[in-house]
Amino acid sequence: MPRLLFAVLFFAALPLHAQTYQGRELVQAKLVADVSAVVPGKPFTAGVLLHMVPNWHTYWKFPGDAGIPTEINWKLPDGWKTGEIQWPIPLKLNEPGDIQIYGYHDEVLLMQEITPPASLSASTVELAAETSWLVCEKICIPGSANLKLDLPVAAQSAPANEEIFSRYRRSLPQNWPDTKVAQSKWQREGNELRLTVESAALANYPAADFFPLPEPKVVVSHPKVERTGDGKIVFRVPIETDDKSVSSLNGIVVFGQNENGADRNAWSLTAPTISAAAAAPSMPEGFWKYLLFGFIGGFILNLMPCVLPVISLKIFGFIQHAGQDRRQILRSGLAFVAGIFAWFIGLALLLIGLKSAGREITWAFQFTNPYFVLAMSAVVLIFALNLFGVFEISLPQFANRGVLGWTAREGDAGSFFQGVFATVLATPCTAPFLGTALGFAFTQSSWTILLMFFAIAAGMAFPYFLLSAQPAWLRLLPKPGPWMVRVKQLMGFLLLATLLFLIAVLGAQRGVEAITWASAFLLVLSLVCWMKGAFIVPTASAISRSVALVLMLVLVIGSGYFFIGQKFAQAKMVSSETVAHGDWQPFTPQFLESEVKQGHAVFVDFTAAWCLTCKFNEASVLESAAVRDAFKTRGIVKIKADWTNADPAITKILKQFGRPGVPMYVLYPGNNAEPILFPELLTQSLILEKLETVSAQVAAK
């Protein structure tokens, strides 16, 4: 009973209307509109005008360390719409005890756009807004008021309260300017977020600050401002929430002649529109080291499992060249190298384009597109058929019909495309070093990305370049002869193995139905290749050649339209959740978060069907008896994050760890300890060793 009495007493202590303190009315609130009348269907602006007595303040949308924002609850008839509150730039106020708050002194107008319905029957309307606020000086007192404003309904309206509305519109933060004027970039450094703003316009103002607008679950501490020598301003915001995924904040960048000056302006920064720093070819720290990593990574790419068939192709090419003169070999080698560069530079330009269009960029992203995989399958099949001798490739522009063997020019073009082809197949692999290098480059300027891909291309091309320049070393390879036809055919089977892999990828992406139709298309394609070999030959008459050509075109277009355009396109997508992963749990951000929050030890395998390095690691390490046992005895939760279809939730996590793609392996040791990131190539001993460190903690539980 006494408790109830308390409640009544304290409710009474919270005045429902404008409050008085020591005989003064602390806040006077009223409703104002920028029009003299409501015109049906025509939006206008209304606002709550708060007048505070001197030295008392009400709060901004994000109040800072204490206080709560003013709330406006519109009571409008059905069919009326209200926009968001437009908050003027607040003051930053400091109180003893390192308490920082954002609020307004003296007066503030909180505007909202109001849209009346297209037809109104009444001659006047009553706009009503329940407004509640907290007003503080040395003490805090909550207040509220039920505000009302009557406006006539008319066909036309005149502006009203022009002075006050124009004054407060000027004090609203503006949209972030064009990237030519100001560039912003967020970086996460441990428990701190750094916002770097590069703007000559901003650098001129002596006072610059960042007022955060964090999500409700994110706890931030006071932003600190630093100016670098080269005119950049860095805002450093400590993040107190234990959430490593917070990678940027909303907020406003405030600038003016003085802190809290009346002349201040602000640009608002919203997470999705944050522009990446671009252009300026400045050399960031560690640039050369990462470039070297790129080179080494490119070199190692030659040894990765997915490049195997292509390596064999090139070795074959060199064997073929062995008998030719030195200049010939050099030319062909350079053409191959040029092919490697062409693909990488092309890929870099594409990525830069996507990045500047605001898209997430990742390594091997093209393999997440089933149509790309399908096109690759077709190319691999055609090459295989060519190696089997079903048909000869003759590039029309160098047509030299009737002459068997390779002319110099044809050879060059062939080498060039071999180079491109080798590289295209290499991309689903992330070699050691490459992940680190690309993860770095993707956060940097366009020039750095371009240079990084150049370094990778150089690394990959290096051995071929060396062999071409030093043909003496080729003597170690066997002499050419009729055996080469057999080797050629054998290589064809290797390519068919690659085709099998690509089709498995398609299956993982699109399901059995899709690969059935894709295979049907590939079958027709084989038929067309055979026709090319059988009928498009110099000995055939012009008429039979033309008929064959038309028939081939009809077959390719017809089957492409029907099998791919219709059947393949409509095949049902298989969501990754339905794919069985053995004793692995499927990944969802919520599941990972809750497991980690509960202090469980969690291992996450970030993988994709098209990622051969991933498959290799899984088969040789993760699914090995020793590692499986170790996971089991330690009770580690195993999660498989399948990135085959480029799940954006997974992309986000890859980015947090600075990785451009899969494979990625992360061990959360439990009890909120820092996650451990593994290298791209796993070994059993590496995993077992790290698991040792976890075991003690988990065993204690």
Binding site: P2, R3, F6, A7, L9, F10, F11, A13, L14, D65, A66, G67, I68, E95, P96, G97, D98, I99, I101, L134, C136, K138, I139, C140, I141, P142, N191, P216, K217, V219, S221, H222, K224, E226, R236, P238, E240, T241, D242, K597, Q598, G599, N671, N672
Partner: protein, 202 residues
Amino acid sequence: MKTKLLTALLTIAASTALFAADSPAVGTTAPDFSLTDSKGKTQSVSQYKGKYVVLEWFNPECPFVKKHYGSGNMQKLQQEFTGKGVVWLTIDSSAPGLEGNLTADQANAKMSEWKTKQTALVLDPDGKAGRSYGAKNTPHMFVINPEGKIVYEGAIDSKATPNPGDITSATNYVKVALEESLSGKTVSNANTKPYGCSVKYK
């Protein structure tokens, strides 16, 4: 090159200094204090080693504090968890002459008027304990585990309003943190944004 290195070092030094002013992070050792409570007894965090300790920053004039005492919410929480062996220290860091500052007699009167159930109401008029914890709000809540580490810091509950009607529908973060801790689990929501009046330091 040298100047760059120097700048970097200075920046690091400056940032550590600035961080020191912030709240001690969740997971770190709770700062100790030695203060007198309203009954004249000395209270510290270290003397309760081996027990869970709740710190609650308090200002009887603050509408947010009134929200939780007027509704009986805070007393209920204090009773429930002191009953389970948790030590509950309510700390008043209001400086003399500022809102909420209490003498020992005034504090005792307030305690009996509001029928509070905490272990002790600790007086911190010079704000030393409050500043060492980076306590910014009333109420601002901390939960310390038996090893003396902070396991929760932040708001009392999830509805940042002065309206007592919101208590029933809010998630009480302190209750959740204590229940999880007492059943041997890690606190799932260990850091939230506290809400309330600012602590009235001088």
